[in-house]
């Protein structure tokens, strides 16, 4: 028996991330110079001692499966439990994708049951935050709740962009409003749910038989529970939390890391490490004329040019005469001599020829490029040279 089993929804397609998610699922998108987005949630589980975690993938799962593997980097390769990848099951009649977040859990009831847990934690793999789920669980037990939803205070003027939970003074939830035009509250749901398994199971089975349900936690399960007057509580989270759902927010969250202390997110917190699959690249090599300011640079990089307010992932090469500013450079990118990049996100293994200039204006969304996009741009402008 396991007290609490985690279920991580990693099926996000991440359409609004454009080219970044053409070939990989959103949780697999590189983040923070070394990581992938999902590493934050996986590390939260590992650090919170959630020893059994089902990861539900569907959209382009290959990269993600390879990344997670047997869970060793997160110390989750356990003999009993650990991290288990759950792909949609291809039945004899041909497989089907999960039709909603609740459906995804419903289809894996047998998986959860085999551990006979008392509680189930449902999280998704596309947010950046550091959180101790044990504290959430402790409150859940204390209030004897059927479900506890983690919430974060958002500025009132942005509240209408979120799912808002209306609560009584003791944080008991009496109403859930998805993107309310006139928010009564500024406590936004973070998409992190702690359920008492017996209760959730019953609701999932009932919901699965509802033809007109979209089988979604936010739209169907939670409202139904509220309607039945179940004990739902909000858990107030303090700290950094960001949904990196758009190119702009993805870029911002990376930039936030450069001043991480200001944001309460700490990659170098020894007690709350973010783990990832290690690439084993040698230490970075900084050349004689390089200037690196206000940036994060990962192992395997060779830097000869100027790097300012940027994030360089593994194995990036910046030649002499380059200026990289407010940019995010994914692994394996070579930036040829005398190139200038400003507010650019360069995708994996792109070869940028000598003398390339790309910049997005201060008010524009940062530019995302990969080899195809770059080749197209260069063909139009007559090449980088």
């Amino acid at each position: 028996m396991k007290e609490c089993v985690g279920m991580l929804l990693a099926g996000g397609e991440g359409k609004r991330l454009g080219a970044l998610t053409h070939h990989i699922a959103k949780p697999a998108v590189p983040f923070g110079g070394k990581y992938r987005i999902i590493d934050f949630t996986l590390s939260n589980c590992s650090n919170s001692n959630i020893q059994t975690l089902g990861v539900l993938t569907q959209y382009s799962p290959l990269e993600l499966n390879k990344h997670i593997g047997n869970g060793k980097p997160w110390d989750m390769d356990r003999r009993n439990g650990g991290v288990i990848l759950l792909s949609p099951y291809t039945a004899k009649t041909g497989g089907d994708w999960y039709s909603g977040t609740a459906d995804a859990i419903y289809q894996n009831i047998h998986f959860i049951n085999q551990y006979n847990p008392k509680y189930v934690l449902v999280i998704s793999g596309d947010h950046i935050y550091q959180m101790d789920y044990q504290k959430l669980l402790a409150q859940h037990k204390e209030t004897n709740a059927d479900a506890t939803i983690s919430v974060i205070e958002v500025p009132w003027e942005e509240a209408s962009r979120f799912g808002i939970l209306n609560t009584t003074d003791n944080l008991r939830i009496y109403e859930f409003e998805e993107k309310p035009a006139q928010p009564q509250n500024n406590l936004a749901s973070m998409g992190i749910y702690m359920f008492t398994w017996e209760t959730l199971k019953a609701y999932l089975m009932k919901d699965s038989r509802q033809k007109n349900s979209s089988h979604d936690f936010g739209k169907d399960i939670i409202p139904k529970m509220l309607q039945d007057n179940k004990r739902l509580y909000a858990y107030q989270f303090q700290g950094y939390w960001k949904d990196v759902g758009t190119v702009q927010s993805y870029w911002e969250a990376n930039m936030d890391l450069l001043d991480e202390e200001d944001w309460g997110l700490a990659l170098n917190n020894q007690n709350w490490r973010i783990y990832t699959k290690d690439s084993n690249f040698p230490p970075q090599f900084i050349g004689g004329n390089a200037v690196v300011n206000h940036s994060m640079v990962n192992s395997g990089c060779f830097v000869y040019g100027k790097v300012d307010s940027s994030v360089l992932f593994t194995n990036v090469r910046v030649e002499e005469g380059c200026t990289i500013k407010q940019s995010i450079i994914h692994p394996g990118v070579n930036v040829g001599r005398n190139s200038n990049l400003e507010r650019v996100i360069v995708m994996e293994n792109t070869e940028i020829p000598e003398g390339t200039n790309i910049r997005a204006g201060e008010k524009e969304e940062p530019v995302v490029i990969n080899q195809d996009i770059l080749d197209g741009m260069l063909a139009m402008t007559g090449g980088g040279k």
């Binding site: 070394k34 290690d278 230490p283 004689g288 690196v292 994060m296």
Partner: protein, 368 residues
């Protein structure tokens, strides 16, 4: 399929590391930002398709145990085969063996249990990134008893002094193993030997009360054995003193050498950390340096090697120095030609300049 098993023998290696070996043996000395000396011998073995490696180690092996862990970073956490660290723990009252022969004698099980018919033996001081598959093929094809791996020293330095020199004929058959200082063909301490012969020679050495397997079992019996030489080409270094340690770390600050040692033919494996990328703060200036992850840089760094999690505060300048893991350098410090071992804390305003030939060394965990 013919295969080799591995043995890293740390007994009888000459070394003078002073401060760096107060609390660890020489195989555990940190190198090049994130490695330890032993990583090279071990990675080269794994890259030669060796699936079981034993290590003979006499003392101060605690940090070695810590570094190697379950062997997973070298893919040696196996059910069959894997990594065997063999400190002295001997309980045979009839044992009369001496020197490294005690290790061979008391670890017969390791050799007998292994399925391989050949053994690759090495020390830890020959630093190169290579594999021994070609040497092995040559060993088998030529029907040698022993194949010695040598390297041609471009320039003979002090660090070459303790090593044997090899004279071989045009076909590679070894004619002589000497201490002749001017012969640039240096024996790397790495050799391939047929397992059954090894066990036989070990018995023989013990019977004659010898105490150094290579010298008495192979060198002194050269005329009776078919000994081949195989020459290693490419970048390499012998590190057996503070001076050679410092010089070779500095040599890596040339991209050419760095690529040779760390990118060809494959990566050197070491214990992985979970440190974030290097964090360069607003006013930092770093030039001609190697930096491992987890560093936090506000000051200036030039011509230096920084290990994981080094913190360089504002107003500080570090030049031509080697700063090991978790050192904390406070504001307005100046360090030149300095080696700081792990966890050293340099307080505000300190100014330390060592000599280029004899860098200033600070032992682990000191505060200065």
């Amino acid at each position: 399929m013919e295969t080799m098993m591995g043995l890293i023998n740390l007994e009888h290696e000459h070394h003078v590391f002073n401060e760096l070996t107060y609390f660890r043996n020489h195989a555990s000395i940190p190198l090049a930002g994130r490695y330890r000396m032993i990583d090279f011998a071990l990675s080269n073995m794994v890259n030669s398709d060796i699936q079981e490696v034993a290590i003979f180690t006499r003392s101060k092996y605690r940090s070695l145990l810590d570094h190697l862990g379950t062997g997973e970073n070298w893919d040696l956490d196996r059910r069959n085969g894997g990594l065997y660290i063999l400190p002295p723990d001997w309980n045979d009252p009839t044992d009369v063996s001496k020197g490294d022969l005690r290790f061979f004698h008391n670890n017969r099980d390791y050799f007998n249990r292994g399925k391989s018919e050949y053994v690759l033996i090495s020390g830890s001081q020959f630093i190169a990134n290579t594999h021994y598959q070609d040497a092995f093929r040559s060993h088998v094809d030529r029907g040698a008893d022993v194949t010695l791996i040598s390297t041609m020293a471009e320039k003979l330095e002090d660090e070459h002094t303790p090593y044997f020199r090899i004279q071989a004929d045009d076909l590679g058959w070894v004619q002589n193993i000497t201490n002749e200082r001017n012969n640039p063909m240096v024996f790397t301490g790495t050799y391939i030997i047929n397992k059954s012969l090894l066990m036989e020679l070990v018995d023989d050495c013990i019977a004659y009360n010898h105490d150094y397997f290579f010298v008495h079992g192979i060198k002194d019996r050269l005329s009776e054995l078919r000994v081949q030489m195989y020459r290693h080409k490419g970048y390499s270094a012998f590190i057996n003193s503070i001076e050679s340690f410092y010089r070779h770390n500095m040599n890596l600050l040339t991209e050419e050498n760095y690529l040779e040692l760390f990118y060809k033919p494959t990566f050197v494996r070491t214990k992985v950390s979970n440190n974030p990328p290097v964090n360069y703060r607003q006013p930092s200036t770093v030039k001609q340096s190697i930096l491992a992850n987890g560093c936090y840089i506000e000051g200036e760094v030039e011509g230096s090697v920084l290990f994981r999690e080094v913190m360089v505060n504002e107003g500080t300048k570090i030049k031509n120095s080697i700063i090991m893991q978790r050192c904390k350098i406070e504001e307005d410090v100046y360090l030149e030609n300095v080696i700081l071992d792990k966890d050293v804390h340099v307080t505000k305003g300190q100014r330390i300049i060592g000599s280029k030939d004899k860098p200033y060394v600070v032992a682990k965990r000191r505060e200065i």
